[in-house]
């Protein structure tokens, strides 16, 4: 910090990021999770290259996992491995799109609230109110009314997820706004947009990264919950839909493989996202970092 205070903003950011990254890299659990998550995303993108779309009402109905069907087949003789792989596409797409939207809304609301105290009372109250309500029953009602297309599903999950993002980001933004460098930025005569963009947003960025991981993994589970209740649509495969069909057809009581593999896919995705956010949090904190 011996150089000019103005320079420190530009020079410190990359080194802090580098220190975090090198601490992150040293944690095997975090790295494994990152690789697993990358693999899931690759499977989602290249699903057609991995296995052809699940179809064909074959005669091999409800077969246990074997060499020809490594995850077994469902009640209509479709290959569950293909269903899980193709389900990855929709599950990852819904998670990514809805969490991206929720993050944008949540961060915007939180940052504006923290920066403009007059708006904050209203925003804080609305966020608190939203968080104290049982969201799933409301989402069910809205989805039942609005229909089950992919786009409405993404919009609905995003619309009900942003308050959680706003809550976390807002508390961080509120403490950042009180720091002296924010006053300094105001004194230099910078516009509000400039201060928010250049000073407030970087201050909340670490919290935002953590909420990306948490919001997207929660979105996977929410989408699966809606699909499990029969609100997932039948045009696309998703992990929730595999479970829903297994439940509907009664296959779940005899054929464990129809529920185990989609469930495992969800578990692996959510656990790796959680571990990444934990590792990132530890790596970012110089006190818990072992360097």
């Amino acid at each position: 910090m011996s150089v000019g205070a103005l320079d420190s903003v530009t020079t410190e950011a990359p080194t802090a990021a580098r220190a975090t990254w090198s601490a992150f890299r040293r944690n095997p659990l975090g790295m494994i999770s990152l690789v697993v998550l990358a693999l899931i995303v690759l499977v989602a993108i290249f699903a057609p290259l991995v296995v052809s779309e699940p179809q064909g009402y074959g005669g091999a109905v409800l077969r246990a996992p074997s060499g020809s069907h490594i995850f077994g087949t469902d009640n209509l003789g479709r290959d569950i491995f293909a269903e899980v792989v193709w389900g990855t596409r929709i599950s990852v797409l819904v998670a990514a799109a809805s969490s991206a939207l929720a993050i944008v809304i949540g961060v915007l609301v939180a940052v504006l609230g923290a920066y403009f105290p007059k708006a904050d009372t209203v925003i804080g109250t609305i966020v608190d109110l939203c968080l104290s309500l049982p969201v799933l029953p409301l989402m069910i009602l809205v989805t039942a009314l609005a229909g089950t297309s992919l786009l409405t599903e993404i919009l609905i999950i995003a619309f009900f997820s942003w308050p959680e993002v706003a809550r976390v980001v807002r508390s961080q933004a509120l403490s950042a706004v009180r720091l002296p460098y924010m006053d300094a930025a105001r004194l230099t005569g910078g516009s509000s947009t400039w201060i928010i963009r250049k000073h407030l947003l970087p201050a909340v960025a670490p919290v935002v990264i953590v909420s990306v991981a948490l919001t997207s993994s929660r979105a996977v589970l929410t989408a699966a919950s809606l699909a499990f209740l029969g609100l997932g649509g039948v045009t696309n495969w998703s992990w929730g839909r595999i479970l829903f069909e297994s439940e509907q057809s009664g296959a779940m009581s005899s054929a464990w493989w129809t529920t185990l593999f989609p469930s495992l896919a969800m578990l692996v995705l959510v656990v790796s996202a959680t571990l990444i956010s934990i590792t990132y949090n530890d790596a970012r904190n110089p006190r818990s970092r072992e360097d």
Partner: protein
Amino acid sequence: MPPVVRFAVRRLGRAVLTLWFASTVTFLLLRLLPGNPALAVESPNMTVQARNILLHQYGLDQPLLTQYGKYLWQLLHGNLGVSFTQQVPVSSVLLARLPWTLLLTGSSLLLTIAVGIPLGVLAATRPHRVLDRLVQVFGVGVQSLFVPTVGIFLLFVFGLQLHWLPIGGAYTPGVYGGAWYVSVLSHLVLPCVSLMLVQLGSYALTLRATLIESLGEDYTVLANAKGLPRSKVVWKHALRNALLPTTTLVGLNLGYLVGGAVLTETVFAYPGVGRGIYEAVTQLDYPVLQGAFVLLAATVVLVNMLTDLAYGVLDPRVRTA
């Protein structure tokens, strides 16, 4: 006004505000969404006249503000509309189901606390050792589980393979007296344990973190220095102070608990409000869906307020917060 009363009044005000917010959001969503209730009640082969009569019957031909006023007025009187499919008041459909949901969520919450607290204490008193790591791994693991998955697997193993417990419903029909209570209990075990498992992680991990913190506080050092037995230091001194963040977790998690109950009741065909939601979804019975949300929201708000009030009485710090 004494602070306790002021705290109670403020808390009551917030509960009323939350309920108003919940019902208004529901009203607006129902009216503004593309598939609005007018479209839901009409069918394409209706005559214009029949459609208008129907819309008038549901009050959907009036201005939005009038509809809103009527809607709130009806809600205040506990009128949630009439079920499309069963032609009976939604409130009577749902109120018959509510006790089962309360039994399931309440017992699972108690079980979670009864298991989660010892688990958190176990981990916090041995920080960064093997047992602590195991609790952490377990906590993250169960937190990441998909609620129906847990139910399906418990059902599969203990119901269908081992035949230890019933696989669905809430009681054995045709059984009376003491045997009925036993059947209710045996039907409750699996759904209750599934709901406990998915909540356990957050309770154990939160308690672990706060307890590690309060074990490092001065009063714990003093208690140790006085020569108190370790168990007394942990359970009486440190744990008491670490419990407050955990109890706020109850309030924060109520919404998640209700969502979990909807899914668990669906898996186990448990006759609560959640299973009612699932059945209403398959029949597109919007009044039931709307009523279920309002009823569950009201329950959550009420329980939340009661726990807050209890803690305001027990802990003076809460009143000023």
